[in-house]
């Protein structure tokens, strides 16, 4: 399992995919936080909860989404390019391959989530100050944002891996996850909020400290998202160990 994990990190480092995703994440966070920080009416950016809400919406959402993409691509990329065959020829114990990918996705997800939330909070605070708005977000909020954002993204990365392992095909996996996060959950939260707050992206926001339309307890949200993650990776493990590879 140790050598499989080393191989997974080596795979991440030896293509431009990971670094390209980091660059896209940084760029998107900066653009989105600038649009919110400078674009929203002053009345919508003055309260602590408004400011925190922006940092979470941008930093946590983008960090978790990119982590999920990274996790999904860890398996669908191998299926797409055929490298899953040499991978399984050198490690026919497929459970070890899934476990190594889960750990590498989890750890990279931590980095993605921490980076996105820290960048959103720091750039957002700077942009608001430039605009002359007093930043009312406290040290505890920042800490929960970054730690929660890292936790949520780590779990989302493993969910992405689980979904990718079940679907296997890259484009449907990626499109499906985008559709879920951007449309299905939004509609759910808008129409049935009492159910929507238990959806995975809403739980991720709650973990990072959101209180608007989400659970108000980050720890409970983390526990529930961890249960979803467990279910997703179990499904991915079953799909990988039980089904043939072409």
């Amino acid at each position: 399992m140790k050598s499989q994990l080393r191989a997974e990190f080596l795979k991440q480092r030896t293509t431009r995919t990971t670094i390209g995703m980091v660059a896209a994440l940084v760029g998107l966070v900066l653009v989105a936080i600038a649009l919110h920080g400078f674009g929203l009416p002053v009345n919508d950016v003055t309260s602590r909860s408004d400011q925190l809400g922006i940092f979470i919406d941008v930093g946590e959402n983008l960090g978790s989404l990119f982590a999920a993409l990274l996790g999904a691509m860890a398996i669908t990329g191998e299926v797409r390019h055929g490298t899953i065959r040499p991978t399984l020829l050198t490690t026919p114990q497929r459970g070890r391959v899934v476990a190594a990918k889960a750990v590498s996705s989890l750890l990279t997800g931590v980095a993605f989530g921490a980076l996105a939330t820290a960048l959103a909070a720091s750039a957002g605070s700077v942009f608001l100050s430039i605009r002359g708005v007093t930043v009312d977000v406290g040290a505890g909020d920042y800490a929960l944002l970054v730690v929660g954002g890292a936790t949520a993204a780590a779990l989302w990365a493993v969910i992405g891996l689980g979904v990718g392992a079940v679907v296997r095909s890259q484009v449907p996996t990626v499109v499906g996850m985008f559709v879920w996060v951007l449309f299905v959950e939004n509609i759910l939260i808008g129409s049935i909020p009492s159910v929507g707050k238990f959806a995975p992206a809403a739980l991720a926001r709650a973990i990072a400290g959101a209180t608007n339309g989400t659970l108000h307890t980050p720890a409970l949200a983390a526990l529930l998202l961890a249960l979803y993650t467990g279910a997703a990776i179990t499904a991915g493990w079953l799909a990988t160990t039980r089904r043939d590879f072409a």
Binding site: T14, G82, T87, P92
Partner: protein, 254 residues
Amino acid sequence: MNRDESQPNRSRSGRMADDEIVTVTGLTKRYGEVAAVDDLSFSLQRGTVTGFLGPNGAGKTTTLRLLLGLAEPSSGTALVFGRRYAQLQHPGRLVGAVLESGDFHPGRSGRDHLRVLAVTSDVTPSRVDDVLDLVGLTPAATRPVKTYSLGMRQRLGLASALLGDPELLVLDEPANGLDPAGVHWLRTVLRSFADDGGTVLVSSHLLAEVAQSVEHVIIIDRGRVVANAPLDEIAGHGETLEDAYLALTTQVVS
């Protein structure tokens, strides 16, 4: 590992020299009602080069996938070194296989592709440069695979198969895309691998090339073995391998 030239039948894993490297018994793979592989049985002896022939759709690739643990048989067994492939601890040290010529990430360099496999095959990093040298890819080693020709990809595939210094090579159409010098080179590599005690199973459509490279031939048709004999028994008595192949297999005239 040292190759002891004085003992051509030596076994690198310390097994008896005359054991069966591959044992396929009653192997069947059904997709719904269709049996892609139908009650297939054959075995491979150490130190032989066996050609695995048959028309498109005869079940060659399915058989190789079953043998290498990528797919589960519906019934029957496919054993390598007496075990199911998935039960081998370090299969890369025993079996080198190439199923598709394009199993690389286009943005990863040939050298990095081999480095990844070296980690899980438990071989030393220096072996990566050895096999790159062996297949003549050292000058292109740091370039992304998307810049490689088909022939270079075949060479990289062979390098990945040879990485773990295996005892068995399983190659699906390795000569595709190689130029005449490349085909000649491949034949030399396979011959010296077998002379050194290694065992080779190679599928191909290039019958003239097969006739020069292999000593044993297995022909399958519609999932069943229709011939399994030394090359000189199948081709000989004035008959070429092509004559025998065409007589034994189902021809679909389009």
